[in-house]
Amino acid sequence: MADGYLAIILHAHLPYLRHPEGKEHLEERWLFESITECYIPLLKVLENLSRDGVDFRLTVSLSPPLMAMLTDSVLMRRYANYLDLLLELGEKEVRRTAGHPEFGPLAAFYRENLLRVKKACAQDYGWNILNGFKFLQASGKVELITTAATHGYLPLMCTEEARRAQIGVAVDAFTGCFGFSPRGFWLPECGYVPGVEDLLKERKLAYFFVDAHCFLYARPKVRSGVYAPVACRNKVAAFARDPQSSRQVWDRHAGYPGDFHYREFYRDIGYDLDLDYLRPYLPGSGIRVDTGFKYYRITGEGSLAQKAPYVPEEARARAAGHAGDFLYRRVEQVARLKKQMRRPPLIVAPYDAELFGHWWYEGPQWLEFLCRKIQEQNVIRMVTPAEYLQLYPELPTAELSAGSWGEGGYNLVWLNEANDWLYRHLHRAENKMGELADLADGAGGLEKRALNQAARELLLAQSSDWAFIMRAGTAVGYAKRRFKSHLQNFNTLAEQLEKKQVAEEFLAGLEQLNAVFPALDYRIYSRHARAGLKNLSGGRLRTAGARYRVMLLSWEYPPVTVGGLARHVHDLAHALAGHGDEVHVLTCPAPALGTDYFDRGVRVHRVKQEEITADDFFTWVEQLNRALFALGRRVAALYGPFDLIHGHDWLIEYAARGLRELLRIPLLATIHATEHGRNQGIYTELQRRIHWREGQLANEADLVITCSNYMAEEVKNLFGVPPERLRVIPNGVDPENLAQKRENELDCRVKRQRTEEPLILFFGRLVPEKGVQVLLGALPAVAARVPGARLLVAGRGPYEDYLRGLAGRLGVGERVRFVGYVDDQGRNRLLERGWAAAFPSLYEPFGIVALEAMAAGVPVVVSDTGGLSDIVEHGVDGYKVPPGREDMLAFYLSELLVNHLLADELCRRAWRKILTLYDWRYIAAATREVYGELVS
């Protein structure tokens, strides 16, 4: 066994530089130079080592744009031409320098190198360099991994879907190239932000890399520092970069590449020789660029003019020396560390691959010497991260801190005065892409092609290179041009998609021009991808294709409807059936309908009326539960086995728990509201007993669903349910209740034409916690600004008389109409007339009424409390006011009544939100995801 391990990671990436449109593009040379000076020399070094039986290990990250370019026939053909031109220049150089004691041999040296590169490309790799990497991976000594699709900088993206797409598209591209899934992931720029590990896990990625300070500031403290990996909460492993070994290679002054014997990058005949001589080999027939013929060494601190000639043999000797030094320091490091650690320390040394050979010409030689020297000793062994994890799978867990390997350690390089303007465009495109993907569920033909191309353009615009280049200040024009053109392409496609007028010629042009990721599927951007759709390509999900046989328990079910529960369970049952599940609803009696019947794909089983006879509430509840339990047993015997029980609220608690025990299947409980919350405390014996039963249900269930973050918090605090057992899934809106169909954009102006007077709506029970008194209190101020304003209060309850009196006392009696209880149709009719709706609740578990108003195109002002807080985004699709603030409620309501432009903007956004987030199909899909967790 070794005393310590060394994992060297080379990360190879270039932005996507394919320009089929023009003859010559300067930037394509970045790729060509990297192939010639970096990728081929590295491959050759590794092949040499392999051939000589050196037991080295290396991890190579290949970025998807690089993979795409290295397998692109247009680019490779151009590269072949580029090589031929350089070889021609090489011949000329050999002739020109003939007889020169230093330059003569150097020119021949470069020409030989070029010939070797050409031979390798043509004969060894068949003009597909990835073949070289594939071969090395097969040898077991090199582990290939990948990075984000276009090297997008994950911490500065605003949606989870955008991050998921960057990761998912990359994994698919890699798998398409190599035939196996990568096990590790290089976060672009080591940019880590908490939560990324969950997206990596979705694609079965086992490990990733961060910079040292992400470990330093982790919670709890990481005992082994950066010298052992750490497991995230979800068991994805993180490795941290060792600062010491990084500095030795990276540091501009103290690092090895600055050695005076090494080749000087900035002296190139492309800048030194006569233009006429060079012209045939320069792009644009005369733009001076690097040719690779570099005859000088770094020499010293002096100016470029004072450089001495390069001597390859001397440089090679230095590389050997530096490899020895690097190893010596690692051995020293290991000797020091192993005293403090329980297992052999691991040193993780990641570098940009392009440093090796391109900037640091002798880098590949250094690497070869290093691998050979490591072979000759026993203290340190080379390892890949995957191997290390197989040796030591037990890791301490910690929550890592955010960070990157950029200047300052965080986001400064990609977010500063030179590039901050990018994000308003990028974020808008991210959101737009998600929305388009949601709205176009199952698109085909031209629409599908346009969506896929829009996703490609967004990905290309997200490349971290653009922001980096703008900050660095060289080639800024190119970066800006590229960024703007991808974004403009995206915006144009998005607009065409929204108008349902995709211009095929335009689209076809873009498909040809920006032809990256041919297998991309836009649905990866859907916000419902998590809920069952994310098995798009490769990442198979448990719920994918699964059909559940589920027992829904609810004490009320239509047509027996007391509160909102019946409607919820009904809509859920039907949406689940729509997903192909076998749904059995067990519920209260409804003598007219019988005890067992089919209702559009849902099997309804009702207990018999004669089984529940009690007048006393709790006896009644007990009878109901006994009857439900017996019914459940019969249903299970007839239709079973069931996958799970899904119970709703405390009234079925006893039956649900009994059935769970009897059938030995998981129990899922949805808690819609709590007795404590409704009453803002527990005061009576009745309440105490209900509260206790709610607690029983919450704690006995394997998982608990609540409809808002607020309710999750409440259930956690009241019953001590740990967050791991809580899931939040909002209520849905019945699509049939939507005022408009999805095909047409909502027109909010119609409402104001139907009612001449500015009408504010309220729906809800008339109880103090619904806050109608606050609304009445706001009305005088509204009337002061909007003289014709009226309020319509729909609903009844014990508070009604008080509220009527209050309206009179406030002098707004004649502005307010109390219309009593309205059914669904009555509500819809009122919604057609409302200019605005107010839901000023003091307590609100969810707030379905607000969703219904939003679905009907009525702008809403809601209390910033409970579930309402989650539903409305302030100033975007409604307004939120602190509970009880009459002045603020009055301000926003009157603004919506007078500022029609604003009202229309908000309700358009609200309507889109309902369509894309609160459709029952999505809510049921999210629920099935929880089923999947329980059943596995």
Partner: protein, 156 residues
């Protein structure tokens, strides 16, 4: 086909207020207002940008005209921030028109307590054809099997 230099709109007139972390001590906000909100602002007063740490107001900026972004420097590491864009009425009440997302600045203090929990991580085995077959491949064999290599021979 887009050939000339592309230009992007300066703003989209869509309501957004976004807060981003630049560094542990710097957060950056950018915003965009819809025409409806611009109309509301015109009628009321100048714009204010308020920064909150957790829920406590810590900075109130009277925005100069034509600003659409702001850097807040010297904020605290390891804290939660959000901001609001709005205006103050004559009585001094602040009416936010937009509210940003919440961000957490990374902390700069190493934790005191040590990790006690451990987890067992699993590394998937690689797909069968590429494991345990060292040297059994000839490079040439490999090429023949690759569809994406077929049909391309750049040698003149």
């Amino acid at each position: 086909m887009p050939t000339g230099e592309a230009e992007l709109p300066a703003v989209y007139h869509e309501n957004v207020l976004c807060l981003m972390v630049q560094e542990p001590t710097v957060v950056f906000a950018y915003w965009d207002l819809s025409f409806g909100h611009i109309q509301a602002v015109r009628e009321h007063k100048d714009l204010l940008l308020c920064l909150y740490k957790s829920n406590q107001l810590i900075h109130k900026i009277n925005l100069p005209p034509f600003t659409n972004n702001w850097y807040f420097r010297n904020v605290e590491p390891g804290s939660e921030y959000f901001c609001e864009l709005g205006f103050r009425d004559a009585g001094g009440t602040f009416f936010p028109l937009l509210r940003s997302n919440r961000v957490n600045t990374p902390g700069l203090a190493p934790a005191e307590e040590e990790s006690a929990e451990a987890a067992r991580v699993t590394v998937p085995d690689l797909a069968a054809p590429l494991s345990g077959q060292e040297k059994s491949y000839q490079v040439a064999d490999l090429f023949d099997a690759l569809a994406f290599y077929m049909g391309f021979q750049p040698d003149k």
